[in-house]
């Protein structure tokens, strides 16, 4: 599970983030997700445990990793190394010694204090730009205890807090987190429950009802739609989405479209699961324009790219 005696699993902390909320932000990525979207661009964020990443292009085949592996799980092969997953205990010793960082461990147990130290480094940029912190993932709400600690700490320090969620969590958790959150970036993938399940592994009933509940609280929400060609960029889905957004209380009438990009392909390779990568269709310029137009008919502003 997400909880770990050493802290919580963080797989990345990104500075100068300019597409994840207002101003210049730090994004903290929590490891672990309860959806399995076919187009996932952070596949290393799905599992909540530590994972070994390996980038063959960086490997010089020096064998330093094989020498230190206590399980003898690593063997040298043409063009790099092969790790026997059955033997590997993801202890991370190989990553510690790899000269080129071809091997890296994804997932670091970090304490609130450690995370805050990094966040604080960017304070001047928040202050100047109206930025702050965005907690993302994975699904950050799966780590609500630590998330709330961090949100509370940021709040005390006057740092703007955004939470990037897909919304498939208990309503109580969501509402509790909302008390400490200044802005939600709320993913809305598609309106048809069956299709939603087909593409993400879960239905969308909870996601939709949670969004309604959240909007009722008056917490600012920006709805983000990963736009996948042939999956959710059709007129029917967009009109349904628009109608749903318009039905929400409050004046949240802005949608951010995040057009699909096969940029995560190499991450599946790094994870040792190249076959898990599914190439989706990128929405073309025309598709993005149509979607923008349909939303416009409902008085919803669209921004492309977050």
């Amino acid at each position: 599970m997400a909880f770990n005696i050493l802290g919580w699993m963080i797989f990345d902390i990104k500075r100068y983030a300019i597409n994840d909320g207002p101003g210049i932000r730090v994004v903290v990525f929590f490891k672990g997700c309860n959806q399995h979207c076919t187009w996932c661009h952070n596949p290393e964020g799905i599992s909540s445990g530590v994972e070994k990443l390996y980038t063959p292009a960086k490997c010089i085949g020096c064998g330093t990793c094989a020498d230190v592996c206590p399980e003898q799980a690593i063997t040298l092969a043409a063009g790099g190394i092969v790790t026997d997953a059955a033997l590997c205990t993801v202890c991370g010793k190989c990553a510690e010694v790899c000269p080129t960082r071809a091997i890296e461990m994804s997932g670091t147990a970090m304490s609130v204090a450690e995370i805050m130290e990094i966040i604080e480094k960017e304070r001047v940029f928040f202050d100047q730009s109206g930025g702050g912190v965005t907690f993302s993932g994975g699904e950050p709400l799966l780590h609500s205890r630590m998330l709330m600690e961090l949100l509370d700490e940021c709040g005390k320090r006057g740092i703007h807090r955004a939470v990037d969620t897909a919304g498939h969590v208990s309503t109580e958790t969501l509402l509790e987190v909302a008390r400490y959150t200044d802005l939600f970036l709320y993913d809305l993938k598609m309106m048809d429950a069956g299709l939603h399940e087909q593409w993400t592994g879960i239905g969308n009933e909870k996601i939709l009802s949670n969004l309604k509940v959240l909007a009722d609280t008056g917490t600012p929400v920006i709805i983000r739609i990963p736009l996948i060609g042939g999956v959710n960029d059709d007129e029917e889905n967009i009109r349904q989405t628009a109608a749903f957004i318009v039905s929400l209380p409050g004046d949240s009438r802005e949608v951010h479209l995040l057009p699909y990009h096969p940029i995560a392909k190499h991450k599946f390779t790094k994870l040792g699961k190249p076959d898990a990568f599914v190439l989706m269709e990128e929405p073309g310029r025309e598709s993005i324009e149509s979607v923008t137009g349909w939303f416009g008919e409902y008085g919803i502003r669209v921004r492309v790219g977050g």
Binding site: R15, Y16, I18, C98, D164, G305
Partner: protein, 787 residues
């Protein structure tokens, strides 16, 4: 861009730079005839006047602002009194692929027969090299530093607002009043001063004559011109040229032409580094602009057209080429006239006006190499102007660069300038600060700081040549800790800097004695009132800069030694030195470990940043405040590298930071290429740990993929990044929006491009972490600008 500007731009861009021997022929004949008859300053002034009387005058079709240094656009004169090109130099310049200057065989022959024989043994360059001590020569030849003044005259000059209030006739009156008050009976320097003033007076006449010859030509052309519209323009040109520079300008047009004649005068008289610079040109032109707009005698479009004409004029003037060994190297046509836009006025208020915006528009439309341009963003500068500048940066032409007046004014106050003079100052050339119109702030040359570490690691010997280049500071194998290594480095550093200063001082005297600049002295305070030349302590302030290069490379190298050798003892110093000496051949594991497991400068990591701060502070200690030999004059440092980091890299072996032999060292105060992997905000934080007020300028180059400036919000956010850097005490930053060629290079050599980051919503990856397919994808997207 209207039709006129389109044509002028086309001519300027498409004309191949050439060498003109006209000036050299005039000068050689004049020296043959007159050398020894006059005092040196008067001789120089008469030589200048003689050339202004004889030189070919050019007024191009469609031109409104007139005047060329050579006989035609992009025809560059030579300055044999400083450095005389050999026949071989001329052939190289005529045929080299990069930065070629064409010259005909007939001209080469004429140069060979008439110019070269006279100047042999008489040039400034020969004077300098006949003097230098062997220690200096050893260090110079090893590439530990360069010497600016062996190629060109000291320059880096910018003007304040005086020439918009006074004409040459006013300056002549001031000179006459000073001469009338001379006390030959009691003042021991009376004769020297009198010769200086005579020279300045002649120099004023020279530029007046130069302008009048343009007026005359314009009138003659008007008589033959069939197009009535052009006839009117030519008559107007004539009128303007009869008014300025003799008298102060009254109109926007006259103000620009005034500056241009003064500019041409200074760069014709001598060949000063970094040409000449109008300084805060928008601020100088604003009163004329506002007055005429209000009176209805000028429209915004007409003003823009005149500014465009001026811009193209500067572009018509490529830098004069160097001589000797460096002629084979590629250089640049850029002569580094750096127009300062925005900033603060001398009363401290915001200096942005509509003219500032006009200039940004002109820069965007013309897209030409020269003049360089920079925007100056103080706390008082409106965001609107900053964002307009960032939109221009986004175009990816590499300009404007961005400066922080709030810091550079403090830099100048620290150097002893008055508040008013500091505020009227700014940045000339690249990033160096000076009090415009009142200071000789001379760049003396670049210092190769990583090379100093290299010879320290070899006990004073240059490992590339095997020759002694410094002093013995101990066998590094005997160093027990990092402190001992650093102490040796510091000793070496001080030795090298002392060598450099010693010769720079000598060169300064040579210029004061043999190559004074009487015309430049007219327009720089307080040369007239002091009766002293620009090179001889005439200016109110006299600064010598040493430009220190490679802070990133030396910091990362020291960090690698500290961590892996002295602290973690992962590698012995013998092992590391051997690996460096072998250019890491057969030791890729060590090199990769260093590259990937050393805290490098630029990541907001105190381990490395504290080393950078120490090196920087020790450079300040070694240089700052040391007297140059002018009254009250001092040395200061700045952290400029221009393109010298490429040359410095070529003369170096591998370095302990994992850099291969011959590769460029880091530029300015930027992190080493690929060393910064935490994004631009971390870079800014690292840089801000340097107390930049103690410098005369630092330089930060940042590379951005176009995807980071896609949306209007991204523009605003980059503006915020700039504001933050400046709040934290940054002096300068410029952004290179990465083009496809760079991206392809990144694919070929990913480790040097680790700093290129991709930003997408909810996603992060460095460019270099992606596989080739995806990099290709990014490249294609850049091309189509749809990222």
């Amino acid at each position: 861009m209207n039709d006129r500007i389109r044509k002028l731009r086309k001519l300027s861009v498409e004309t191949q730079p050439s060498l003109s021997i006209e000036r050299a022929l005039h000068e050689t004949a004049f020296y043959r005839e007159n050398y020894g008859k006059y005092s040196t300053p008067v001789m120089r002034a008469m030589n200048f006047l003689d050339h202004c009387l004889k030189k070919n005058i050019y007024i191009g079709q469609d031109e409104l602002i007139v005047g060329e240094r050579g006989p035609a656009p992009k025809a560059v004169p030579t300055f044999p009194e400083l450095t005389c090109h050999s026949v071989e130099d001329l052939h190289v310049l005529n045929t080299r692929e990069m930065q070629r200057y064409t010259i005909s065989q007939a001209d080469i022959d004429a140069y060979d027969q008439k110019v070269i024989p006279y100047w042999k043994g008489r040039t400034q360059r020969e004077r300098i090299f006949s003097h230098v001590p062997p220690e200096w020569k050893a260090a110079y030849e090893a590439g530990l530093f360069t010497e600016f003044m062996e190629q060109r005259a000291p320059g880096h000059t910018a003007l304040d607002g005086k020439i918009y209030r006074k004409g040459m006739l006013d300056f002549k009156q001031e000179i006459a009043a000073n001469m009338a008050a001379l006390d030959y009976l009691n003042h021991p320097a009376a004769t020297d001063k009198s010769e200086q003033w005579k020279a300045m007076d002649i120099a004023c006449d020279a530029v007046i004559v130069f302008a009048e010859r343009h007026a005359k030509l314009a009138e003659e052309m008007a008589l033959k011109e069939p197009d009535p519209k052009r006839v009117e323009e030519l008559k107007k040109i004539a009128k303007v040229c009869r008014r300025v520079p003799a008298n102060a300008p009254r109109t926007f047009w006259e103000a620009i032409q005034m500056y241009w004649f003064v500019h041409l005068g200074t760069i014709t008289e001598l060949n000063g580094w970094d040409a000449m610079n109008p300084g805060h040109f928008d601020q100088h032109l604003t009163p004329f602009y506002e007055r005429e707009i209000a009176a209805g005698t000028l429209t915004r479009d007409e003003a823009k057209e005149l500014i465009s004409c001026f811009w193209i004029k500067v572009n018509n003037h490529p830098a004069p080429p160097k001589v000797g060994i460096t002629a084979r190297e590629s250089g640049t046509y850029n002569d580094f006239t750096n127009i300062n836009i925005g900033g603060v006025k001398s009363d401290g208020s915001d200096g942005v006006s509509d003219v500032s915006y006009l200039m940004l528009e002109v820069i965007a439309e013309l897209h030409i190499l020269q003049p360089g341009n920079s925007v100056h963003i103080s706390v008082k500068t409106p965001d609107e102007f900053l964002n307009a500048a960032v939109r221009l940066i986004r175009k990816g032409h590499g300009y404007p660069s961005v400066f922080n007046p709030d810091i550079y004014i403090r830099e100048m106050l620290r150097q002893g300038k008055s508040l008013r003079d500091a505020r009227e100052g700014g940045c000339s050339g690249c990033i160096e600060v000076g009090a415009f119109g009142k200071e000789a702030f001379l760049l003396t040359g670049y210092l190769n700081v990583p090379k100093i570490l290299e010879i320290t690691l070899n006990n004073g010997v240059d490992p590339v040549t095997g020759r002694v280049a410094g002093i013995e500071t101990g066998d590094p194998r005997s160093f027990e800790n990092f402190g001992m290594l650093y102490a040796a480095f510091l000793k070496q550093l001080n030795f090298v800097i002392d060598q450099k200063m010693r010769v720079s001082n000598y060169i300064d005297r040579m210029f004061a004695k043999y190559a004074p600049a009487p015309f430049l002295s007219v327009v720089i305070d307080d040369c007239i009132s002091r009766g002293k030349d620009y090179y001889d302590g005439g200016p109110r302030y006299n600064t010598s800069y040493i430009q220190c290069c490679g802070l990133g490379t030396v910091t990362d190298s020291l960090a690698a030694l500290k961590k892996h050798v002295f602290e973690e003892k992962k590698y012995s110093i013998e092992h590391l030195l051997m690996a460096v000496m072998n250019d890491f051949k057969g030791d890729e594991i060590l090199r990769q470990t260093i590259r990937n497991r050393t805290p490098f400068f630029g990541n907001d990591d105190d381990y490395a940043d504290s080393i950078a701060v120490k090196v920087y502070n020790d450079l300040v200690e070694a240089i700052d405040g040391k007297p140059n030999i002018k009254p009250g004059g001092k040395y200061h440092l700045n952290m400029l590298s221009t393109t010298c980091h490429v040359y410095f890299g070529k003369v170096m072996g591998a370095t302990p930071n994992g850099r291969f032999a011959g590769k460029p060292i880091s530029d300015g105060t930027s992190p080493s290429h690929g060393a910064d992997t935490h994004g631009p905000s971390a870079v800014v934080k690292s840089l801000s740990k340097l107390d930049q007020v103690k410098s005369g300028g630092t330089l930060l180059n940042m590379r951005f993929l176009p995807g980071l400036l896609r949306k209007e919000e991204d523009v605003v956010k980059l503006g915020h990044l700039i504001r933050c850097y400046f709040t934290l005490g940054g002096h300068h930053v410029q952004f290179n929006i990465v083009d496809n060629a760079t991206l392809l290079a990144a694919q070929a050599c990913p480790e040097d491009y680790k700093d290129l980051l991709v930003r997408m919503a909810g996603y992060s990856d460095y460019f270099n972490d992606m596989n080739a397919d995806l990099q290709q994808e990014v490249i294609e997207r850049t091309e189509h600008d749809t990222f």
